[in-house]
Symmetry: D2
Subunit: 366 residues, 4 copies
């Protein structure tokens, strides 16, 4: 497949440029019988929607999704689900000045080298606006996982620049504009972002996503390991530069006697593995972290070259997120849900019919 | 595809269990005209081969590869290349005692939950022995990339448990059993490993892989970004728990003004991006780090359960690497080479014919 | 991938039900730089469009296509091309009576067995209306093949029920409502169809598609042979029950001395192979025939069962083509173009860079 | 994927040249728990094996298969099954004379144009010898389908040149060297083949394959229709020039009132559809016919050109089947089994969990 389709049995194909007419997606392979409405999908889209706080881009998009097929009398039919979101608040002239320039740390130069042409308006296809359709598709997967398997996929901001969270209260996450689960850090984050805006600079962030109640057995060794596909899906999100499963880079300094998650009939005694062993889910929570680089669009001038190779000084106008990480939580949730959905169907197809009597270990010991 | 095939145009499909008759692979999509012999492949296999130093498993395997098809009169023909490595030094009885037990942090439990059955001898398919065929396939990709495009893929051990390297001298890497590029750290590593062996414990490690002279334009947004597929390929290696591109998790605390790699006609002024922008190669070195967990096979007893769910104490006999990271360098090189090879062909197919005149920026400023 | 995507490098994914809100497609992998407008695509859509003559369904659909992405300043950018056609002339009540019945020779029963639910309005996803997006996608492939490689894909009706054409005049095809290349047969076809309509019955047909100026070398043995993928693509068209390449079923009674297409420096002396040898294009015209069954929607009562398994008598109301074959020519052209486009890109990617000096045989001797 | 892999969930990847060291295959995605031995596979290989009668090539190959992985204690484990067949009776010098010539109707010319090089010994990869591994893989699929779902896949020779069978007695098929189900035609076929051999000519043939007891619901509209994938799989067999499902080309002249298979609670009243409606299995027998061209290797001289474009007269030495169709029956069975196996797993994955109460129509009325 070309680059715009994700998945093998549950596939998502997307199209759309930042300043084009519309964004769209086709979700293929969704089993029939799932109750689904536009409102179900809109919930997640609204969480990702721009212009919701002073800490994100001021571009205002309703991001209201239309379902064009695949749902009949309120339920999925098993046929492909077509979805559309129209763009409404483009201000393309903001970008005319960078038509012939390559913004540092943007995809301008690489797209030109690959394609020889680019829709420079708002970054075209390389804009994070593309992720809206991922969130829409992911919300279908999330609903199926929850309705039919009680699997829940959730995420939060675990670090904003230098500010690390110290506790996770799931109820806090939607109470602040940062998806921050630690109420005690929100004020600090607000101060930090205000100062950053003044300087016209941007900052990186870390997001954590967790899937609970995942049955053991999902994942296809060797190349399609569950962790490998999670890494693929999460690294495919704009601005992501690193992915960890469980203890991740912390495992480098761990001893085997410390890292191994011992097992008892009551459950695993720890979860350094992040819920995956040998590329297959173990029944423990699946835990992944991603590192997002700071936004590349700054009001601080930077050195670059133009399409003729001449040196230029670039200042990015337009409206941008000073921290792309802030709105990335629903996107990361969506991608994790897509991976789990696809592997659930693949497992059901290839091994789901196996009858065996291995007792299931009840996740982690509480 | 099922889980044992990697790639879209340059595909690698592998089979084989740790204590089975043989390991094998089919490399499909290799362009014709590449000069290739078994000796070319053996070089990399020998670098990964077990039993080469007191710091790796004492299992002795010649790992001598046979090419069964796809090469005629010394050159590839464009037809699939079949390769075979016979297993010679199995000691399966070592494993009979864990037949009915789940070793903590191993794939024993998850394989049983997925398949309802497993070849428990040496971990069967989940053994790192499977990576031998990745190295064989990767060496074909490495040779094509070098012979036809002067692209070089190399790697080294950048951290062994607490010991971090401080300098990179490419000539040192094959001068010590650790693939360590910093001669000043080798003695320390040897001491550390000796102590570890005494304790019967194991340790994690960090590997860095670098691809030089990669042309700009490789990678297929959106889901098949080059960095996403590198993350997929590297995370699919046994024991890997984290992947970073360029600055990776370091970008979380960076400012945009600091992270963005400014561009001049003479080249990029830094490489925080690790050679990839918008999922497409920029022409700078591609740099990735991976975190490997400590080996799960220990001589220190651990708590677990048996196939009936009863608590047991597990001691892993058999011969193991106290640090899987030590032999992982050639494997990581192989996987990076496979990704680049596949994307080179995909780019050539979809966009390679484009004529454009965008000047190429000469990588990083030296 | 799930069933609604075709192709590997040049992929087409479609959605949409006969009586849904809209039909849509995403064409991914189209190289950049192709001049493309909605008008270019509309030409083929209008050829397939219903309600154009008394010999096809009276449903009137403008089938006007919108391009939503992937084209910038009149040229493709290499990013996915989103297309949409809104449904306007649904008369769903026509179908309420067959809500709980399975029309013989329709997909009603099999969809219910597969999905447990179906959008019965106009056959939902199983309606030939789905082919509109194939034609739209195919016209992009046709334009690329013609503009960049002078490859032309054309087709015609070669048999209508008992009426076989005796000569092929390409200029005649668009001069009559049957895509018939033999002007001397048109009156006979008109008479035949009138009589058929009176009886409320339907008839089968045969379509021939031809690709000229195809370069040698397209096709990937062994499973992805060019002829195998053409068979796949053509058999995937609604109502198609048979596919032939070149002499097809005629080869059964041929001797080898008669079938083999002898070669001279001036060209091949015959084309029993239909332009494909060993699954790879030879440079001769690619010729394929397809057999289309008679429309299943009749005004003549037929025996069937309802969703409860009780016997019922079915009469299909609604508006239908008495011969689906009549409008199938542009669809068959589209599918052949999609196969050639995909294989052109695959060949370019995997083998296109090969330098060799084998003289090219100039197709067939004229 | 490249051309040497078939299937999505149940995948088969093959390698090997006619006169190379060995042929091999990897079957990936086979569910665990299938009882499987080399003997099970050998049965089908022996049916295809050359040198079994005076009517097939005199090359003698044991074609004895080795299972190298994926089977443990007599049962499949869910991991990839590696298989190997060593070549033993090559006589490569037979071919040295055609090293620089293109045999008419062979793949010599097209392989050279595609790859710029070829293993000319016995046709290399383009030899029908490649089909041995298809038969081996297919026999695994056949066994799974039969053991777990009572689905049976069988075939026979339905026409040898001008000689058409008039009745089908399944018990006769393995009683003669032609896979002919009509005992009354065998003597005629023997006479015909003797005469043909004297002339040094070859002849075409028609094979029919039937799958019984297939559950309704297999097949993924729209592009991955079951009939489309059957056409793909069967057309990918060497020498096949046409594929029909059910009534096939006969449907062209049928009326809808005649073609439609009426339904009663006791079953379908006919099977013009060949067991597939809307691309999905209906529960009736799946019936497909294929047309095979006459062998291209003749002892009668033919006109061609050499690699320099000069005219030459070609006589094929070496040992060949005067009718490739004779040994094609087990190959066609294998390919049909592979399609059904893959779609069984895909259906189970995507829709198999659907609970519905549509009564199942008991196939055809007997």
């Amino acid at each position: 497949m070309s680059g715009n389709t994700y998945g093998k049995l549950f596939t998502v194909t997307t199209f759309g440029e930042s300043h084009g007419i519309a964004l769209g997606a086709i979700v293929d392979g969704c089993p029939p019988g799932l109750a689904l409405s536009e409102a179900d999908i809109q919930i997640d889209l609204d969480r990702r929607k721009p212009g919701q706080s002073r800490y994100t881009t001021q571009r205002r998009e309703e991001d209201s999704v239309k379902i064009l097929s695949g749902v009949f009398e309120g339920k999925t039919t098993g046929t492909p689900i077509g979805m559309l979101i129209e763009n409404t608040d483009q201000r393309s002239k903001d970008y005319s000045n960078i038509k012939d320039q390559f913004r540092p740390a943007h995809a301008d130069y690489t797209y030109m080298q690959k394609y020889g042409v680019r829709d420079y308006r708002g970054g075209g296809r390389s804009s994070a606006r593309e992720t809206a359709m991922r969130v829409a598709a992911g919300s279908i997967a999330k609903k199926y996982l929850k309705d039919f398997h009680s699997i829940e996929v959730r995420g939060y901001l675990s670090q904003l620049g230098p500010i690390k969270i110290e506790s996770v209260d799931w109820d806090q996450i939607d109470q602040n504009p940062f998806f921050c689960p630690d109420a005690s850090k929100v004020a600090e984050m607000e101060e930090f972002m205000k100062a950053l805006n003044k300087e016209g600079d941007s900052i990186g962030a870390k997001i954590t996503v967790v899937a609970t109640n995942v049955p053991p057995g999902l994942g296809e060794p060797v190349f399609d390991r569950l962790d490998a596909e999670i890494a693929h899906a999460l690294m495919s999100i704009n601005a992501v530069k690193g992915v960890e499963i469980g203890e991740g880079f912390g495992s480098i300094e761990q001893r085997g006697s410390q890292h191994r998650d011992e097992i008892t009939p009551e459950g695993f005694l720890s979860n350094n593995a992040g819920g995956i062993l040998g590329g297959i889910s173990s029944g423990q929570d699946i835990i992944a972290n991603i590192a997002l680089k700071p936004t590349s669009s700054l009001h601080i001038p930077g050195r670059s070259v133009d399409v003729h190779g001449n040196p230029v000084e670039v200042i990015t106008k337009g409206r941008h997120d000073p921290c792309v990480g802030i709105r990335a939580t629903p996107i990361a949730e969506a991608m994790l849900a897509l991976v789990l959905m696809d592997h659930l169907l693949r497992h059901r197809g290839q091994n789901g019919a196996v009858q065996h009597t291995i007792p299931v270990i009840p996740g982690s010991v509480k």
